[in-house]
Structures are given as structure tokens and as C-alpha cells.
């Protein structure tokens, strides 16, 4: 049963890693704005398509 010391240690360390990951996300500002990322994900793909189109047109920048 001595293995329980190792198991408890390992599980606590893993839990702490997740806690650390949460802190990183929080400090990174990922919980500051809940609205815009939901909008942004709607048009990510189309953006790439647009870029290739741009090149064929040889557009002029303002």
C-alpha cells in the first residue's frame, strides 16, 4: 500500500499543473472578453480564402 504515497503525489502534481494552466489563461486575458472570440471563430476560414483571392487581383492598397 506504500504506493499510495506516490499516487497521491503524482495526482496532486497533475492537478497543480492544470491549476497552473488555468492561471496562465487567466493572466493571459482569456477570461476578459467572452463575446468577441465567439464572433471571431465564425470567419476564420474565409479569411484565408480571401487572401489567395487578393493575390490574383493584385489589389492596390490605400
Amino acid at each position: 500500500m506504500e504506493v499510495i504515497f506516490i499516487l497521491v503525489g503524482v495526482s496532486t502534481v497533475i492537478a497543480l499543473i492544470f491549476l497552473g494552466a488555468f492561471f496562465w489563461a487567466n493572466n493571459n486575458g482569456q477570461y476578459d472578453d467572452h463575446e468577441t472570440p465567439a464572433i471571431r471563430m465564425l470567419f476564420d476560414d474565409e479569411l484565408i480564402e480571401k487572401k489567395t483571392k487578393d493575390n490574383t487581383h493584385g489589389n492596390t492598397k490605400v
Binding site: M1, I4, F5, V8, T12, A15, L19, F22, F23, N26, N27, G29, Y31, D32, D33, H34, E35, T36, I39, R40, L42, F43, E46, L47, K50, K53, D54, H57, N59, T60, K61, V62
Partner: protein, 796 residues
């Protein structure tokens, strides 16, 4: 090309009056929209129109002076978030962000201008953070570019602690995470003890588990619970007990007892209850703090004033920050700019719109050497002004310096909770004393255990959660229906309202769009005569008539012998015709009209009358009808008594007060309060700011909740103003829900006390009662408010 009456602008979706502006196959309502379309088209950004149909904002008329102040380096430095070499970053407030397409376009701004490195939009805050290359584009050029595509940024004076709420929120989330983490793990490591009360299992590991539990509890005490302990300490020092005192007593009792148990090997103690308790308290705090912090409730006159003005010195135009303008400086104010200080007009004449300061919705004409006041907006041609007072001494600032703005409103809710917690502490002391005496007879060795158990269960955790969850849910419910409150504390202030005071212009009536009709047909010459005369008067009715007909006349006649009799009418000789315009008795005529009428007489012959109908906001009639029986209604207006017929059915005659200056409005509110009334004020604009602040509950009515609104307790969406009675009802119901949940939490405390006094409060019992009481309070308040919300806001 055939004319289709339903053609709408491909950019903004408005109707196209004449279908002459076209590009490729699209129609546009104006050249502004067309040019935006062309810019986007050239840069391959027409995707903008596919994401959302007609998403565009119509750009304002181009004005090369609008961002002139950004040429001043000092001002730019104040606006930029960050700059390093050629790289700069700025956060811009852009109120016209309104849809998915807007976000897409602004985040692809680098396609329009090479100088833009990256941009990121915060949709809720209507804010775009843009990094750009300073060498290639200046802040001014960037602002002009955004303006050109219909996203005009608004620059306000930087608040010193702007990032504070964000950081507070992050810290709170971090505390919650730690408390939750420790709570879960402590509970996990306490389980062996709970499942095995006679302590035969895992004897070897008991110390190991206890050690982990003790280690996990330390951050909860010194980091997560810190605010409560500090606040309790402070409140004891100033001898004003607040709710944090009984909470802290509970926390300390729990922690001390648990440490004792662990160190002496009596078991895991109450550490899981302790961590869970702190965790739930923090959840309540977080729930309460999630308010509409993206709306501004604290704007003062400073955010309305421009950041800088053009000063003319030695024939040179210098962009000068407002606070550096000195008495005697000559200021050049362009069209649509705001006068920053009081002064004297040097230009021949100038049209100035004071609507924000006075609430009077029409612009006034000022002549050379007349006094002009800060806060007016110059319309038409530019004006030259001699500065007479520095900006922080102007009339507008004086208005703002009145005492009402200094005094911090004391929250009645805080008083209630403070009182409650005082009673609570006394009750706990009495109960602890009695149970101590009882146990002295039974078994005096157990006295310390019993006393500590009493302190533990008396901890008003459920009580502390009742307030944030009841009022937090209430402001969310109100927000869904168009009323945005400053924070959850103010809900309670809505309940005892006896009187409601309305501002007229802009609040109940629309600023623009009156119905003006003449009783018979008017000849072209008559129109010209009337317009020429009305142009000379600043009476609101004259201005309305003039505004309604000014597009039909190209030029004006000369006016001589102009005479105006206050409150009656005016007469003059216009192009050799004697014209008299005024009320019925001024012209010796009769009127039986319900509406406001203005009679016209030309050369002694009564031509007929204008009937002028003020347009009420949509829903105002229903609103007044619904409130009339329950509250005393008052109407305050900056206008001269012009159309009280519209309001007579809804207000008592003596409660209709016209011709009020901003200070008068404030005094009116104060005098009502001195009679013991609780006053709610609805207003808009800077002129109501004093009254809004002085009232017990100030609501600012706004067509666009993101645009300027003065300091207030709540912002109501003008389109949903008719729901105000429901909001008032809900605030009352919220109080009911609060009382119910307080009773409920006291009931839990009593059960806990039963266990404590009989010395049966084992860690397991505590670990069940504490979370159970917290969760049931959260459920009760949430369901209660949801229930009333569904009932009250139901469509009739």
C-alpha cells in the same frame, strides 16, 4: 434604369432617395457609403457584406478638422497605450461597432492600410486595440481612416485607473480557482476519515493525509480569505461592524479548531467546510461584480469636452490641450466642434447648439461680442472666440462642482446589512453564553468545543450569499429588458420610490421630428415671409417652424421693425408686408385646438395657423398611463411652456414645470426630498446631470446605451422605456425574494446551532450542512427572480 421604390443602400441598408449613386451593380444612398464600398472593394474586403446584410455605418460628413487635435504630441502620448520606436498601440472606443461584420472588418484593417500591424476588437466594450507603425501613419491619420470607413473613434480623457476593474476581476477569478482547487482536494483527502469514523483503516496514512490537508488550507486562509479578514479588522477598529465581522469570526473559529484537531491527531478537522465556505463566498462576490462594466456610469462634463482646441497666436494655429488655454487666447472653433471655455464671440455671427447643456433642443444664434458658454457646439461656419475664463472655471464646470457631485451616495443596502450583522453578532454571543452555561452543568471539559462549534455554525455564509445572488439575478433580468444598472447595490434603492420626475426634451419627447401642419395651403411667398421672420426668433416654436420650412426657401427677405412680446408672439415688416405671428390671443383669434397652435397674420389678414405636434417617444403614453396611479409624476422642462397640452392628461397641473435651468431642476429634486419623498429622476444629457445625481435613483434615457450618458444609477434603453413599471415591480419582488432567502438561511443556522449546542457538530455534519445551505440559497434566489421575471415581463 427603372426606378424601384424599394432600393436600399448596399452599404448601410437605408433607402436610396434618388437612385443616381451607383457602383457596379449596387446602389448607394450617399457618396459617403459609396466611398466606403470602393475602399473595401479595392482591398478585397467585400466579404464584409456577405457576413451580414447591409452592415455598414454611414460615414459622417467629412470634416478635415475633426481630428486636428491629434497633431499635438502631448495629447497623442496620453491616448496611446504603448509606444516603442515606430511601433505604437492604441485602444479606441468606437461606438458604431454593432455586428459581426464590423468585427471582421476592423480586425482586417491591415488590408486597408499597410501601417496597421494588428487589430483586435472587444465587441462588448465597443473597443478596438490597434497596433500600428508610427512612421507610416500617425494617430490622426489612423483616426481619419477609421472615420472614412464609418467607424469614427471617440477619444476621451484617459481615466487614470482604467485597467483596474480588469485586474480586479482577474485576481478574483484566481482566488476562486485556488479556493475551489483546495476545497475539492481537501474534501478528497478527508474522505477516508468520513467513511471510517472508528479510524481503523489506513492508520499509517492518516498523518500524511492530514499534512496535505493542512498544506492545502494555508493558501485559502492567507490568500483567498484575506479580503474578508482585513475588512473585518478595519471595521472593528473603526467600531462599525459589517457583515465581514461575523464571517471572519466563523472563518477563524473553523480554521483554529481544525488546526488544533490536525496537530493533536484528532482527525482532519473542518478544513473542507472552511475551504468550501470561502469558495462559495468568492463565487457570490464574483457573481455580484459581473455587471455592465463596459457601460460608463461615471462620465462627467470632462468626457464631453474636447481634448484640445486651435489657438491662434501670432497668426499661427496651435493645437493646444484644453488645460493650457489661457484667458485672452483666441480660439478657432470649427464646425461641429465644442466650445471648451466661456468667452466672447469675435466672429460676426455663429449658430451654437447648447442642447447638451440646457436641454433646449434648438440651436441659438449668437452675434459678435455676445457671450458664449462652454459646452456649446458650433454649427455651420467656424467661430472665433476670445477666451474669458480658463476651462476649469467655466459655467459648465461650476455647475458640476455643486455639492451633489462631491457627496458619495450612501448605500441604504449597506446600512441594512451592517445592521443585520450587528444583531447577528449579539445573537451569537448570547447563544454562545447560554450554551456555555448549560455545558458547565453537564460536562465542563466540553465547553470550549461547544463554544467553537456555536461560532462555526453561526457564520452567516448563506446570509452573505443572499444579497449578491438576489440582486445579481435582478440586474441581469433588468438588463435583458433594457435597464442597465450601475451595480447590484442600487436595486434596493428602487423599491421605496414615491415620486418620479421626468425631463421633457429628449426623455419623453423626441428631439427631432415634429409634425407641423398649416391649416390651409401656403403660397410660396407666404412661406418665405414666415421663414424670414421666424429666423429671427429663438423661441422654440419659431425654430421648429423655421426648421420645417427652411429647405423650401432659398433666400430670405429683410426684416425690419422686429418686435417680440414674450410668451405671445412677434411682429415685423418683412419685404413691405406687415407680418404677425403668435398665439391665438395675440392675434385676437379663437382656438379650441388640443394641439399647440401658432397663428399667422399678413397685412391684417389672418392667414391661418400652424398646428405643431410634439412627437412623444414610442411607448411613453403607455408608460405614463401605467405609472400615474402608483406614483406622483412630475415633468421638468428647460423649454418655455409650449406644448403642455400633450402632457396635461398625465400630470397634475402644478407638477408641470417649465423653463427650468439645470440648477432649478436640481433644487426641485432637493425640495421634494426635503418633504420626505423618495425621488426617481429620468433624464438625458448633461443638463439633467445634477438632478440625476441628487435624486434617490437617477436613470439616464439613451437611444444608444454606448453613447454619452451622464453619471447615473442606471441607463435605460429608450426603445424599451415602457418597461419601467415592470422594473419597479421586479425591484419590489427582489426584496421579497431576499427576505425569503434570509429566513431560509437563518433556518439553516438554527439547525446548525442545534447540532452545536448538543455538541454533535462533527466535521461530517458541518461538511454537509455548509455547502447544502449555500447551494440552496443560490437556487432559491435564482429561481425566485426567474419566476418573477417571467411573470412581470410577459407580453400583455
Amino acid at each position: 434604369m427603372s426606378l424601384d421604390p424599394t432600393v436600399t443602400c448596399a452599404h448601410c441598408g437605408d433607402d436610396c432617395p434618388d437612385q443616381t449613386i451607383t457602383f457596379e451593380t449596387h446602389y448607394f444612398c450617399c457618396h459617403g457609403c459609396l466611398s466606403v464600398y470602393q475602399i473595401l472593394n479595392e482591398n478585397g474586403l467585400t466579404q464584409f457584406y456577405d457576413i451580414n446584410s447591409n452592415p455598414g455605418n454611414r460615414p459622417k460628413d467629412s470634416n478635415e478638422h475633426r481630428y486636428l487635435y491629434l497633431e499635438n504630441e502631448e495629447i497623442c502620448n496620453g491616448i496611446l497605450d504603448f509606444q516603442d520606436g515606430d511601433l505604437a498601440r492604441v485602444s479606441l472606443f468606437i461606438p458604431s461597432i454593432h455586428c459581426v461584420s464590423c468585427v471582421w472588418l476592423l480586425e482586417n484593417l491591415n488590408k486597408v492600410s499597410e501601417a496597421v500591424i494588428a487589430s483586435q476588437v472587444n465587441f462588448l466594450k465597443r473597443e478596438a486595440q490597434i497596433s500600428f507603425n508610427q512612421d507610416k501613419v500617425s494617430l490622426k491619420e489612423l483616426a481619419e481612416l477609421l472615420d472614412k470607413i464609418g467607424y469614427a473613434p471617440i477619444f476621451e480623457k484617459k481615466k487614470t485607473k482604467e485597467n483596474q476593474p480588469k485586474r480586479d476581476q482577474r485576481t478574483l477569478i484566481k482566488k476562486m480557482a485556488i479556493a475551489g482547487f483546495c476545497f475539492g482536494n481537501i474534501m478528497l483527502f478527508s474522505f477516508p476519515e468520513y467513511l471510517n469514523p472508528d479510524r481503523t483503516f489506513a492508520e499509517n496514512y492518516r498523518d500524511f493525509f492530514s499534512g496535505i490537508i493542512l498544506a492545502l488550507s494555508i493558501p485559502v486562509l492567507i490568500y483567498c480569505a484575506r479580503d474578508y479578514l482585513i475588512s473585518a479588522y478595519k471595521s472593528i477598529r473603526i467600531k462599525q461592524l459589517n457583515l465581514d465581522v461575523p464571517i471572519s469570526i466563523g472563518i477563524i473559529a473553523l480554521y483554529a479548531k481544525s488546526c488544533f484537531d490536525i496537530i493533536y491527531g484528532n482527525g482532519p478537522g473542518y478544513m473542507d467546510s472552511f475551504a468550501g465556505f470561502v469558495f462559495f463566498l468568492l463565487i457570490g462576490k464574483w457573481f455580484q461584480s459581473k455587471t455592465y462594466d463596459y457601460l460608463s456610469f461615471e462620465r462627467d462634463h470632462g468626457s464631453y469636452m474636447p481634448l484640445a482646441s486651435t489657438v491662434i497666436k501670432d497668426e499661427q494655429h496651435l493645437i493646444t490641450p484644453i488645460h493650457e488655454i489661457k484667458v485672452g487666447d483666441q480660439l478657432l472653433i470649427h464646425n461641429d466642434e465644442i466650445i471648451p471655455t466661456d468667452g466672447i464671440l469675435l466672429s460676426q455671427e455663429s449658430l451654437i447648439d447648447y442642447s447638451f447643456v440646457t436641454g433646449e433642443s434648438r440651436s441659438t444664434k449668437k452675434l459678435e461680442n455676445e457671450k458664449v458658454y462652454a459646452g456649446g457646439r458650433v454649427l455651420g461656419s467656424q467661430a472665433l472666440i476670445l477666451c474669458e475664463k480658463v476651462s476649469n472655471q467655466s459655467y459648465l464646470t461650476d455647475l458640476w462642482k455643486q455639492k451633489v457631485f462631491d457627496k458619495q451616495k450612501e448605500s441604504p443596502l449597506k446600512r441594512t446589512t451592517d445592521m443585520l450583522s450587528r444583531y447577528f453578532i449579539y445573537a451569537v454571543l448570547v447563544v454562545a453564553g447560554i450554551s456555555g452555561i448549560l455545558w458547565a452543568f453537564i460536562d465542563h471539559h466540553e465547553i470550549p468545543n461547544v463554544l467553537i462549534a456555536v461560532l462555526i455554525v453561526a457564520c452567516p455564509c448563506a446570509l452573505a450569499l443572499s444579497f449578491p445572488f438576489t440582486y445579481g439575478n435582478t440586474i441581469r433580468a433588468m438588463g435583458k429588458h433594457g435597464l442597465y444598472l450601475r451595480n447590484s447595490d442600487v436595486v434596493d434603492q428602487m423599491t421605496g420610490i414615491t415620486d418620479i420626475v421626468f425631463d421633457k426634451t429628449g426623455t419623453l419627447t423626441l428631439n427631432k421630428g415634429q409634425n407641423i401642419q398649416f391649416s390651409t395651403d401656403l403660397h410660396e411667398r407666404d412661406i418665405k415671409l414666415i421663414c424670414s421672420l421666424c429666423r429671427h426668433s429663438i423661441h422654440p416654436l419659431s425654430r421648429s417652424i423655421y426648421d420645417a420650412f427652411k429647405d423650401k426657401v432659398k433666400s430670405h427677405y429683410n426684416v425690419s421693425k422686429f418686435e417680440e412680446i414674450k410668451g405671445k408672439g412677434m411682429s415685423a415688416v418683412v419685404d413691405s408686408a406687415a407680418v404677425r405671428i403668435g398665439s391665438a390671443d395675440f392675434l385676437g383669434s379663437q382656438t379650441d385646438h388640443e394641439m399647440t397652435t401658432v397663428f399667422v397674420e399678413i397685412d391684417g389678414h389672418l392667414l391661418g395657423h400652424f398646428s405643431i405636434e410634439q412627437k412623444l417617444r414610442h411607448g411613453v403614453t403607455e408608460l405614463l398611463e401605467a405609472l400615474k396611479s402608483r406614483f406622483t409624476l412630475h415633468l421638468l422642462s428647460g423649454d418655455i411652456n409650449s406644448d403642455d397640452t400633450l402632457f396635461k392628461p398625465h400630470f397634475d397641473q402644478d407638477k408641470l414645470v417649465f423653463n427650468k435651468q439645470p440648477e432649478d431642476k436640481l433644487n426641485y429634486i432637493n425640495s421634494l426630498q426635503n418633504q420626505g419623498k423618495k425621488v426617481m429622476m429620468l433624464g438625458d444629457g448633461l443638463n439633467d446631470a445634477g438632478a440625476l445625481r441628487a435624486s434617490d435613483f437617477g436613470i439616464s434615457v439613451s437611444d444608444d446605451i454606448y453613447s454619452f450618458s451622464p453619471a447615473c444609477d442606471g441607463i435605460i434603453d429608450a426603445k424599451k422605456i415602457e418597461k419601467l413599471p415592470h422594473h419597479l415591480d421586479l425591484s419590489q419582488k427582489a426584496r421579497l425574494v431576499l427576505k425569503a432567502s434570509l429566513l431560509f438561511s437563518l433556518f439553516y443556522n438554527l439547525i446548525g446551532l442545534g447540532f452545536a449546542i448538543s455538541n454533535n457538530l462533527s466535521p461530517l455534519v458541518a461538511a454537509i450542512i455548509m455547502p447544502l445551505s449555500s447551494i440552496s440559497i443560490v437556487t432559491l434566489t435564482t429561481l425566485g427572480i426567474r419566476f418573477y421575471q417571467g411573470n412581470l415581463y410577459k407580453k400583455p
